[in-house]
Symmetry: C2
């Protein structure tokens, strides 16, 4: 589970891969060739990115004849949100308050 989480974070760490997800968000079922068209790199580079996205379960594929259709799977993103980002988000206002409070206390200590 934690290993999967790490895969997802690492998969999201690259701008090209986030772009691929954006494209699959806009339109599912694209082939490798179609995904390559919009990216300024070799087909093999795109393939490598897609392999990582698949490993992180962010992309699901279906083979149709000699083509491979790609679909976005947002579930892992949801999971990360639920068990990680949401925690910070829910505490955002509180954390800001704590920070300001700490800075204020620090001011007093230095004064």
């Amino acid at each position: 589970m934690v290993a999967d989480e790490d895969k997802v974070f690492k998969a999201l760490a690259d701008a090209s891969r986030r772009q691929l997800l954006d494209r699959l968000y806009a339109k599912g079922g694209l082939t490798l060739g179609e995904l390559c068209e919009a990216h300024d790199m070799s087909r093999q580079a795109v393939t490598k990115h897609l392999v990582l996205l698949e490993a992180a379960n962010l992309v699901v594929t279906v083979k149709r004849g000699r083509e491979k259709l790609h679909y976005l799977n947002a579930v892992p993103i949801n999971e990360i949100y639920m068990r990680w980002i949401g925690k910070f988000e829910r505490q955002r206002v509180q954390a800001l308050f704590n920070l300001k409070q700490a800075l204020k206390e620090n001011d007093h200590e230095q004064a």
Copy 2:
């Protein structure tokens, strides 16, 4: 803005850095030394991680004497959620539906 987004994603890509954020979430105002205690690496390694977290604006620091106090800043996480993850999250159910639909259509084509 996009460059910042990239910094945040890259900062979150490392498990050690996420751990540091977790610790600062649990308790703010920790010094570098205190942050090092729980991690099985050299102080300088932790420093490097904190530098990246600061550059991504995920951690804010205050110097107090010879100590440096670290605080979590969840704002960038919130921004990423707002303008990136939320998009996918909102479409999650719809995307699953689309995927199933596509698989069904694919079945029909192959049959």
